[in-house]
Amino acid sequence: MHYTFNIERGNFTDAGQASSSVKRTLKQLGVDPANIKRTVVALFEAEINAVAHAYGGTIDVDIDGEKIVMVVADEGPGIPNLDLAMQEGWSTASQKVREMGYGAGMGLPNIKKNTDDLKIDTKVGVGTTVTMTVYLN
């Protein structure tokens, strides 16, 4: 099963629709609540990252019998130092973003914690593609 969603820069208000929709399907499939939670938390974090940092992008979710693969691809500034970005508490978020309760530097570490496989392709000035996989068993 395939789902596609668009990401709009700075639209925190509507963020979360992708995770809500995926969550509903996983509940229909009877996926274990713990795995649903991991998936939804990771997807939401990745979406918020793109909303906060990128100029726009897409979310593609594929669900099959074994796994959920989520690809969040954005056009944006890219991540100059991926190792730093993977550290808890490291953030380049603007004051405005922090005032909205985001930007605590937990995004990528939280995604890593909640997924079984995480791949980040990033190019400064071009964009970032985050590929997250959660195995169902």
Binding site: M1, G16, K23, K27, Q28, L29, G30, V31, A34, K37
Partner: protein, 451 residues
């Protein structure tokens, strides 16, 4: 409607004689529990959470809450009326509480207690529970039974966040029973009758989530008792005897939104109103909000004064209860002459009895127990949903096109019930097209789906 094991039962019923099949309740139901069959609303017991929204919106008064026969009180020597503080809030302030109590006595009750007598004891149990579970960050109050059931069916991953303790109602009933038995009453002669402000509370007494017996002999609808008492108050209120039981100001405020949360130091939240509760739980489940501490949740706006069986305006009732609480505050009222919880042996025993052993997740979304089968069904459902017009007209007897798609894959409905897809004449084709234009689908999609 095809159903396997029934694990929820309800006192909320449809009066087929009054029901016009108008779809209003069906489109309001937060769990999609209602369908129209045979021209009448039909409730799926496993999906209904007793929130009472359907009763509130029904233009034909066709939904009702089945209460116990009032005559039942005559079966008992000790006829105990257990009223929520919300009940007193229904009456104009010119009527004194003792006048209301005296009317209840004239109706045949021998003892009257307000439900909230034990909330301070209960709050201590909440706090102990929270200390005993450091692994849980957000604790959801178990007070509103409709919230518990909503979580079971729609947010099963949050079941463990619910504090597994019974309600002030269970506590008060247990303490009354002890008090009367200490005074020499036999267990069988004590009939405790609870006055309910809503459908959820009656269900929680009749079919408790703990699946353990309650000490309640029967339940009376609050609007029914209000009407009886109101008539008598007009008739005469001269024969008034003072009553000793007292509540504290905190007790009186408990049923109101915020009344519970405000008793907790540190971080706490008070969420009321059906849609607010749903959106909060949705975000909590996604960890899109971080809400450490106690989360008080009430399905009804303003709390229990917004219950479907509350007769008076919720804001007016709220104000009256706040005034009553202020008065008690000024009088420095303590819980005297009411129910006692300080007997250590009893309080230890009751603390154990108050524990709900287990709250089971009851997901209403799951299509099949077998993952591969559920997967096939979900795929087919997505396809059917695309073929449907997305107008959510409800003419098929389901609340939305998505719900019809689900009913079809569950084998509970046919795509032929969609009047958009099943157009028999050129005249109906033209008429529908004139309203909806290109959103109408052709029959080929229908045929394709049937292959």
């Amino acid at each position: 409607m095809a159903q396997g094991e029934t694990y929820f039962r309800h006192s909320l019923k449809v009066n087929d004689y009054l029901c016009a099949g108008c779809t209003t309740c069906m489109r309001t139901c937060p769990t999609g529990a209602i369908r129209i069959r045979g021209g009448k609303a039909v409730i799926n017991d496993n999906k209904c959470v007793d929130c009472g929204e359907c009763i509130k919106v029904c233009p034909h008064k066709a939904l009702y809450i089945k209460q116990d026969d009032f005559q039942l009180i005559e079966n008992y020597g000790y006829k105990v009326c257990l009223v929520p503080a919300t009940f007193i809030g229904q009456f104009e302030e010119k009527y004194k509480t003792k006048a209301i109590y005296s009317c209840l006595k004239k109706l045949g009750f021998t003892h009257i207690y307000e439900v909230e007598h034990g909330v301070e004891f209960l709050v201590d149990l909440y706090k102990e529970y929270m200390e005993d579970h450091p692994e849980i960050r957000s604790f959801i109050s178990p007070y509103c039974p409709a919230v518990i059931r909503l979580i079971q069916v729609r947010f099963p991953s949050l079941v463990d966040n619910i504090i597994r303790l019974k309600s002030p109602l269970d506590l008060a009933a247990r303490a009354i029973l002890k008090k009367l038995m200490d005074e020499g009453a036999r267990r069988e002669s004590v009939g405790i009758f609870y006055v309910t402000p809503c459908a959820a509370k009656i269900a929680s007494v009749k079919y408790p989530v703990s699946q353990q017996d309650t000490c309640i002999a029967g339940v009376i609808n609050m609007d029914f008792l209000y009407n009886k008492v109101q008539l008598m108050l007009h008739d005469s209120d001269k024969d008034v005897k003072p009553i000793n039981h007292t509540l504290t100001s905190r007790d009186v405020l408990w049923p109101l939104s915020g009344g519970e949360a405000s008793l907790f130091r540190g971080s706490h939240y008070a969420v009321d109103g059906l849609q607010n509760v749903i959106s909060f739980l949705e975000k909590l489940e996604d960890e899109a909000i971080d809400a450490p501490g106690l989360i008080e949740m009430r399905i009804c706006d303003q709390g229990c004064v917004g219950g479907v069986l509350a007769t008076n305006n919720r804001f007016v009732a709220r104000k009256r209860m706040e005034n009553r609480a202020r008065l008690f505050e000024r009088l420095h009222r303590k819980n005297e002459g009411g129910l006692e919880y300080d007997d250590s042996e009893f309080s230890e025993q009751i603390a154990q009895e108050m524990v709900i052993p287990e709250i089971k997740p009851r997901s209403l979304y799951k299509l099949d127990d077998n993952f591969a089968e559920a997967f096939k069904m979900a795929e087919r459902m997505k396809k059917i949903e695309k073929a449907l017009p997305g107008v959510n007209c409800s003419a098929c007897g389901a609340p939305s096109c998505a719900a019809l798609a689900e009913d079809i894959v569950r084998g509970e409905a046919s795509i032929d019930t969609c009047i958009f897809i099943n157009r028999h004449s050129q005249a109906s084709e033209d008429a529908i097209r004139s309203i909806w234009g290109d959103r109408v689908k052709t029959k080929e999609i229908n045929n394709d789906e049937n292959k």
